[in-house]
Symmetry: C2
Subunit: 342 residues, 2 copies
């Protein structure tokens, strides 16, 4: 009676052959006679032999583990992204180790150390909001561990990235409102030092320009929470020349705008159109339900993982790749319908 899991050695002893023969037979090596192969394979199946992944890793120096660092797991977007990553990884026989930075720079550093120690063969990162120094990311590269950033990308490190197309997402949403009759569209955004804000603003401005609508700076406000959305909308909607459309930073802000409009007895979407962003759960909970842009978290996750695995499996290819994930328009009830196409 032996202890521990069955090894190649055990099989060899039991079958009176050498370990190398067993090893080869298991991989259907044609050098080995068909009879021996069959014998070994039958034995393995019968005794549920499972190769020791640890020993394998030690030899190949590859453990097929991918590390992922996200700011927060309990978040609709990130858990969706992780879900997408999982899907691809499972397909190609990789495992995913998750770490959360909890938006904390120091914890993020520890996450990186952990992953280096675990000798993962690649890392996917969406950086914490508090991270401003990138030495720890560089350390990954110094250890020859490929890194891909997604969503919250790090512009200070030269590597591949996967981002959501904020520019054209915003452009499309604003264009939709214009096509459905809006003439004065307000833009509620996050602080302008963020990359995301700049891209969204450009999308907004370009849509207005395309349709020759005037740009009114007073319609552009910093508001990225439900409360701020509510307050600023209430303010702006009581001015003489009130807007007839709102492009919000996210669904929470949009829900605040909606609240303000309802309180002012303005009809949504007839008098005021509202567009959210993210397609988070809340967008289906409001009444009327929010029109919004889906950021396709699954797709972000899948693409990032695919990019990484490609890089791992073709290390000689050093070209930079940036993927931009198109958002997808979700028209619900806070915007009007498109007029019939010609």
């Amino acid at each position: 009676m032996k202890k521990g899991p069955l090894t190649i050695k055990d099989i060899a002893k039991d079958l009176n052959i050498s370990t190398s023969t067993v090893s080869r037979a298991l991989k259907d090596n044609p050098d080995i006679s068909p009879e021996t192969r069959k014998m070994v394979q039958d034995y393995a199946k019968k005794h549920k032999y499972k190769p020791n992944a640890l020993a394998l890793s030690l030899r190949t120096q590859r453990n097929n583990i991918i590390g992922v660092i996200v700011p927060e797991l309990a978040n609709h977007f990130f858990s969706g992204v992780l879900s997408g990553m999982e899907t691809i990884a499972e397909d190609k026989d990789y495992h995913v180790i998750v770490c959360q930075s909890s938006e904390d720079y120091n914890r993020e550093i520890r996450n990186v150390q952990t992953l280096i120690k675990a000798r993962v063969c690649g890392v996917l990162i969406s950086q914490s909001k508090t991270t401003t120094n990138y030495d720890h990311f560089q350390e990954l590269l110094d250890n020859d561990i490929p890194v891909i950033f997604f969503d919250r990308i790090c512009t200070g490190i030269d590597t591949d990235k996967v981002v959501v197309d904020d520019y054209s997402g915003t452009f499309t949403a604003v264009e939709y409102m214009i096509k459905t009759g809006c003439k004065r569209i307000a833009f509620f955004t996050a602080p302008m030092h963020l990359e995301i804000s700049k891209n969204r603003k450009n999308g907004y401005l370009d849509a207005l320009r395309k349709y020759h609508l005037p740009v009114d700076e007073s319609l552009i406000r910093i508001a990225d929470t439900k409360l701020l959305g509510y307050e600023k909308a209430k303010e702006i909607l009581q001015e003489p020349n009130r807007p007839d459309g709102f492009m919000a930073m996210n669904d929470y802000t949009a829900s605040g705008v909606l609240l303000a409009a309802k309180e002012l007895k303005l009809k949504v979407p007839d008098e005021v159109s509202i567009f959210g962003f993210s397609n988070s759960n809340i967008s289906q909970d409001t009444d009327p339900m929010l029109s919004t842009m889906d950021q396709r978290p699954m797709e972000v996750g899948k693409q990032a993982m695919e990019l990484l695995l490609e890089k791992i499996e073709n290390p000689e290819n050093t070209s930079r790749k940036n993927k931009i994930i198109k958002t997808s328009l979700i028209v619900r009830q806070t915007t009007r319908s498109l007029p019939e196409e010609l």
Copy 2:
């Protein structure tokens, strides 16, 4: 110029000592002279030596990886649970590998195979809704891999479990409504064959009994979605002897009930109290915001992970442990305030 990461061998060669001395010096073994120790440690730090976890695992037959199988990652409860697990694991230097079954029995089987192959040292499972056969779980135990179930426990396998206290959560919520003046409380539940429904119903009934309120079977309805909550509430609220309180299966159902009450111009909470369950995001998005029971996902995750690590580190202790995580009452705006305590 050598390639690959620095090994003990490299250090030994460079310092003209043996690998065992290096190994010992790195662990501050007192057998080694302080000078040698310092020399080795300084060298290691300077050259950023990192022990090869793979080689270590091969020796110790332990890789400090924990597998987790959840039905769905993009879910408020499960991502919270995972978050809690992560916290504990990180503390004790374990890694977490996530798998999602996507509520699919066959995928769950594959998840289990994957984890066995990866030779994880323990597994945490919340089973898929479609799982009715437990052979794959048994296989984990046959491979000497400790298993803990959480939330969606498997009653067919003899192992430790961590569950949410549905009984007393419901009891507490119903009791709260009674204390704040409700006399006729409806109970909206999921299908009664589920463990969770039975436990909740018992909590509901016992609370009524404690305060000598009559049980009216017509107030107990199957409703576990927003739509069903809306429909059944609308129905029941228009009957002559309408209820003045609702205990819902989850926050979605509760939001449907709220919608119905608002449409019928009933004042919430003055004329109708409503309790949700889960403390999911939506509970803060409704107007008024829902009173609900928090299921403390973090706590579930932490406790499950602690139980597992204890089992891994003390394999000789074979006693069964079941943990019941108390829910916590969250009073928002769909219930009245408690009268002043005496």
